[in-house]
């Protein structure tokens, strides 16, 4: 798995995102229009595609897409 694939998957699930705008160092939680619904969509995606559980604690400890990706990678 690579971070670019992960980003593509997120962009595929979240329609509000313009493809290409999400970068590894994007601080996703401070993006305009970011909502707790988006967090749930990402948690569902990670569960379905990587079989990894992301907790509330994980989400609070992450700033960027890379942070999130590293958590997933460590649990796959």
């Amino acid at each position: 798995m690579s971070i670019s694939e992960f980003i593509k998957k997120i962009e595929g699930e979240i329609e509000e995102l313009t493809p290409g705008t999400l970068k590894p160092d994007t601080k996703y939680r401070t993006m305009e229009g970011w909502s707790s619904m988006h967090a749930l969509i990402i948690v569902a995606l990670v569960d379905t595609d990587y079989n990894v559980t992301i907790t509330g604690e994980d989400l609070r400890s992450c700033q960027t897409i890379t942070d999130l990706f590293n958590i997933i990678k460590s649990r796959v």
């Binding site: 619904m37 948690v43 569960d47 379905t48 989400l59």
Partner: protein, 351 residues
Amino acid sequence: MAFLSLNNVSVKGISACVPKNVESNLDYDWISLQERELLIKTTGIKYRRIASSDVCTSDMCYESAIALLNEAKIDRKDIEILIFVSQSPDYFLPATSIILQDRLQLPKTTMAFDIQLGCSGYVYGLSIISNLMSTGKFKKGLLLVGDKSSFSQSKKDKSTYPIFGDAGTATLLEYNEDADKMDFNLQSDGSGYKSIMITDGGTRNPYNSESEKMVEIEPGIIKSAKNLVLDGLEVFNFSLREVVPNINGLLNYSNTTLDDYDYFVFHQANKLITETIRKKLKLAPEKIPYSLYDYGNTSSASIPLTIVTQMGELVKNNSFTILLSAFGVGLSWASARIKISNIVCPKLIEI
């Protein structure tokens, strides 16, 4: 392991009642229009039915029971057991089921009691009433299940207010030696009790001067200790972790496979949860009815309400093997294999 296999009991009919008053999540102006649209798309919930202050869960269950008994042409004195499953009773005490026994004009020989469960309540209730009836001591029974979730919600809590709707249902069961067996898998995990909770008003934290104080928990969530708390992410992860193994346990116990079922009726939590579970089980979308769009998450009423509103015409004239799966507050979860054949199913009642 709480696996049960019960013989001699069949579901004779199912009915449901909702308040007339419709609220649309598109009008929920506590959040921005963009957030409302995202919420509707993600949760699958557009409308919810909200009871007025003078309508309780028991009133909706009462109307459901009357319609069902009339349409099934059942003499009320033949009902020998009544169970009410709810987390929104009329009073702290006495039990609402007993008040309903009298109100429904059931005989004093009727056994009546309440079960305090939420999202998992329909499957639990069905297992308990069927277990009692399978001995043949009770020939006809009523299972009344529902909640007035709006009672405990803060309108300024975006994590709960746009999710829940009110509903009350009735299921009529009959002793029948030709009935197909029902199978159940029932589970609990109290370590997650804080995930869905009303903290004040019980004996642990009686109402006090602080109970009504509105506090901002996070942006978009202002609530008091009398209001429902829902940790959406925790509940989401619990559902994704536990529901599929629970269903697999049931399949194994009942010696069935997913292909043996005509429909899968899930507790209507939200669409993202159910769709994720559906994909894990690789089930075809047409096998999963939803009532979420029109009624929201109706707690313990969600399974019978979904059957009445989405399958009402079908279940009257067909025989189906159905898998029921319910999960939530407690944490408590359960699944069941039941067969329903040509059941009585009155049109949805609105009060």
